[in-house]
């Protein structure tokens, strides 16, 4: 660190990477980040697809209603809704605790969500899923609307049932866009920082410390910029799989242009 300030830092080679890879805490954070990404992305994709399919079956007025709700949630700034969620889940006077107590879960009386690891994790998952579903649902829905309705009609005339239509028409149409949205969501959720930092700062007891939060903590609080940057580089390397998927989809679409 002192070398960095004087500006005559020696080349450290792979020392920083070795140091961080030997650190048990790092691996714990990596596992947590993968779990965080998996839970969020699965929820986002499942709910997003379900909402997109639902939108197809709705009447015109209902569809406009749901779409405007989705757009509202999507357009609301991240930090604003993050603050709102802290209020919804606030231990005293929070609506969620009130509702849970009303439903008979008395243990939620003044329950402090952010003081318990799994509970804080849950709040963050709900927050990120709520913020991300609109994009997934709207994009998948607009992909579905590109299918000419004649296609569905002719399939029905040919005697295809609902499931068969879904498998033979909806899925192939949705496929490429689904891949695109999936990889984007993986990237966004994996590198998500603002929400976690604003709500828990990685706490309590590191229960919500994912890789971006970890590298920030290492750099800012411990003043180990070298280690923080090493962690950040490893973050990018882990993300490469998702990035490659994104590029394959992007290039397929490019070829169509």
């Amino acid at each position: 660190m002192a070398e960095l300030i004087r500006g005559d830092a020696g080349f450290a080679g792979l020392e920083n990477y070795q140091e961080i890879l030997r650190d048990d805490e790092f691996w714990q954070v990596v596992r947590r980040t993968l779990g965080w990404t998996a839970v969020n992305v699965v929820l986002i994709m499942v709910i997003g697809t379900a909402v997109a399919l639902m939108l197809q079956g709705l009447g015109r007025r209902m569809r406009t209603l749901v779409l405007s709700g989705l757009v509202l949630a999507w357009a609301s700034p991240v930090i604003a809704t993050t603050t709102v969620f802290q209020w919804l889940f606030s231990s005293r006077l929070g609506v969620v605790n009130w509702l849970l107590v009303r439903l008979g879960f008395d243990s939620f009386e003044n329950y402090s969500w952010l003081a318990h690891g799994p509970a804080a994790f849950t709040v963050l998952v709900l927050l990120v899923v709520w913020q991300s579903v609109p994009f997934a649902a709207i994009t998948l829905h607009s992909a579905l609307t590109t299918v000419p309705t004649e296609l569905f009609e002719s399939a029905r005339i040919d005697g295809a049932g609902g499931w068969r239509i879904f498998r033979s028409i909806t899925l192939p149409v949705l496929g490429p866009v689904f891949g695109l949205v999936l990889s984007l969501e993986v990237i966004w959720v994996f590198r998500c920082f603002a929400q976690i930092w604003a709500v828990t700062k990685g706490g309590p007891g590191g229960a919500t410390t994912t890789l971006p939060v970890y590298s920030y903590q290492v750099a800012q609080s411990l003043h180990r910029y070298d280690l923080g940057a090493a962690a950040a580089t490893l973050t990018v390397l882990i993300l490469v799989a998702a990035l490659i998927l994104y590029f394959r989809q992007m290039f397929r679409q490019e070829a169509e242009l």
């Binding site: 357009a75 700034p77 930090i79 006077l93 609109p134 607009s142 029905r156 920082f193 604003a198």
Partner: protein
Amino acid sequence: MRPVPTSASAVLRRLPLNTGALIVFALCVFPVYWMVLTALKPTADIQAETPVFLPTALTLEHFSAAVNADGFWSFWRNSLIVTAGCVLLALAVALGSAFAVARLRWKGRRGFVLMVFLAQVAPWEALLIPMYVIARDTGMLDRLATLTLVYFMITLPFTIVTLRGFLTAIPVELEEAAQVDGCTRTAAFRRVTFPLLAPGLLATSLFGFITAWNEFAFANMLIIKNQDDRTLPVWLSSFSNVFGTDWGATMAASTLFALPVLILFLVLQRRVAAGMTGGAVKG
């Protein structure tokens, strides 16, 4: 052809779907509704043991508390300066790049497009530390100009990709026809293509605006000592230091922060939809 269902059975068949739709709508809207309602409720209603779900008595006291909070207007102004600066810079540069990519043939064009795509999903959070070190070593910490440049960098790839999408949708023949009629290439672009590009410019600047207005990580990292130079998101994220447990004022501040984006979205909604399908995310 399916037989036309009688209206009663149609209603019944649609019941589960419509219920689901209403639930989705409620889940989407409730947090935003709750934010605005809390901001407008008298403190007694906020602290009631049973939450008050409908607006009965309304007050603006929380808004005045938020607006009168220390430095609110300067944070507001900082956010606006940074956002506007970044959007204008990105538009100017992206217009040139998009034109080069969409209209001109040159060596390395494919490579350039690939790089822009790559930059579009670059994990910027991973660049926090190098950016911080660069800003610190060049004496650029605690300056709005630094933030503007960073946001410009973040929004530029997306702006290029989207504008390129809009540009390729405009037939090149229009420009060619203008050139045949005696326009120079620049004049043809300025007089024929540019007006047609207006919706694209609006949509992309909206996205740039939202990105910069919301950005938190860099604003949190690059503005440290000079607290007056903070932007709204950073200020809002530390609401408990400012307002304590005054949720009314906190929600009023959140509402004031969300308002410009929501208004822009409302005004430009149609064009945003066009931007989504015509630009970055091709359905």
